[in-house]
Amino acid sequence: MKRRHFLQSSAAGVASAFGLPGLARANGAAGRVVVIGGGVGGATAAKYLKLFNPALQVTLIERNARYVRPYGSSEVLNGHATMASLDVSYDALRSRHGVHVLIDTVTGLDATRRQVVTAGGQRVPYDKLIVSPGIELMYSAYEGYSEQVARSAMPSGWIPGEQTTVLARQLQGMRQGGTFVLVAPPNPYRCPPGPYERAALMTEWFIKHNPTAKVIVLDPKDSFVTDETMMLGWNRLYGFNLPDDYAKRMAPKVELRQHGQPGMLRWVRAQDGGRVLKVDAKRMRVESEGEVIQADVVNIIPPMRAGPLARSLGLADKTGWCPVDRRDFASTRLPDVYVIGDASIADAMPKSGYSANSQGKTTARAIVEQLAGRPVPEPVWENTCYALAGKDYGIFVADVFRIVEGRIARINGAARYLPLDATPTQIRLGARYQQAWLRTFTEDVFA
């Protein structure tokens, strides 16, 4: 039985590679696609594979029985959401879409026989394999920091879970007038506006509950995605004064306030000494190039690379991320394997949930066409990131991407962000849409 399957799928592979649709169909098998990783990229791919071709046999292999969504998880810190509200079930993928969801841990790959090996002792055969492994947080990037420290004294919470709960408790219980330090990550990383949204939401919360608190963002970068629109929100809401160069650049477009008594939020970028060198978890100290800060709560968002599975399966290169063929996100390192989501090298596409969702669909389409022996159409991707500068202050990123001269490029003009001269209505609507997006997006991926 196993051997027959193997021969069938081999024939299909040869046929599609040579563009012989007749031969590919001749064996009657629609094909078996295995998806590893039940995050946004993997779940989207599994669902859309079945929508595109219900006859496909689609197996999603995921370690955890339920998904904890990272997008919107900073809202647990200010008490706007609960940990339980981040939970997403795989039931709809099973019952509505006919995806076989296997809760198991992948331990290896037999690329020659095209089988995925699991800790549960299964060998799952595939014609095509999609790997959506997400990110790994590099806790050891800073002297004095480790996963152990992240679990207790200085949580990260960038992948939501127990650390999110710990961080929420620390922030909401911080002494009056205490100092919260948020260490932003270097590029590239998951959810570009996320660290700054988190700083904003906590500043808003402190103003109400801990008005003499301080919030310091230490940054190894000199700029960030949505910087002008985010900092304009900070300027209006939290008494934040923009760095001179930003203020000068933005002045012709928008009226900025100059606050004689600056607010509690500070952004220390690389050129002002924002790069962190080491931390001392016992004494709650953070040492950056510019200063040593005695803190009360420290949230470190460490540098990132492709998830551990990407590296153990040999899909990542020396950059730590996974090189792919832009047309279908096929790995350039292993045949019949595709890498989507944050782990892939996708040029101008940010490492966002929306990007992973968009890639899941184009890769699902490519695989359906390839298995049927048809040519793969030109892919077009989209990205939308909503973020909050305050609970009623919504900003965003909006992109359309195509392949241009062999690279994925943005093609929808210079404007990516909320305009600086946006009306109060646009800003308030953005915040409403951000909340709605958390629902509609989860539905498109998992329901």
């Binding site: 832009r326 045949p335 892919p379 965003f396 359309v400 093609i411």
Partner: protein, 154 residues
């Protein structure tokens, strides 16, 4: 058989290398926009003119595939039951095209739809519109109550 398979695999990897060679992994830093080949005549003509390295042109993107890029907000197949965004399933094609053109020109105020519309051509609006018009609105959604929409007549 197995030799052929290996050769096929190698060929696939080789073809892939053209697009994937030595890309810097700094997506956030690479945010500058380039002209849209679908809407920019000069850029569209360029690949045909030269570039011996270029692989054969891919079949054009379909309206359905473009429509799926909307689903993160507007629902899978545009069949949104949530009230927050406009459900696109069953929308008359002419309304969809007009709305997108108005977003693109700025005539219709938006949060981010103007930015999205500027990445798409008129022909693409039309192919997306044709797809959405064919979809049946989600039961119980506002769109399902609209007598002008497809699939809503008794």
């Amino acid at each position: 058989m197995s030799t052929r398979l290996v050769l096929v695999a190698l060929a696939a990897v080789g073809a892939a290398a053209w697009l994937a060679a030595a890309a810097p992994a700094h997506p956030q830093a690479a945010a500058t926009a380039v002209p849209n080949p679908a809407t920019n005549a000069a850029a569209a003509a360029a690949p045909a003119a030269a570039s011996a390295k270029a692989p054969p042109a891919l079949p054009p993107v379909t309206g359905e595939a473009l429509a799926h890029t909307c689903a993160g907000c507007h629902g899978t197949q545009g069949r949104l039951a949530d009230e927050a965004f406009v459900p696109l399933a069953g929308m008359p094609a002419a309304s969809f095209v007009q709305t997108m053109q108005d977003f693109r020109s700025g005539r219709r105020p938006a949060t981010l739809m103007g930015h999205i519309a500027r990445g798409l051509s008129d022909a693409e609006f039309q192919s997306m519109a044709a797809y959405f018009e064919r979809q049946v609105p989600a039961p119980g959604s506002a769109a399902a109550l609209d007598p002008l929409r497809a699939g809503t007549k008794p």
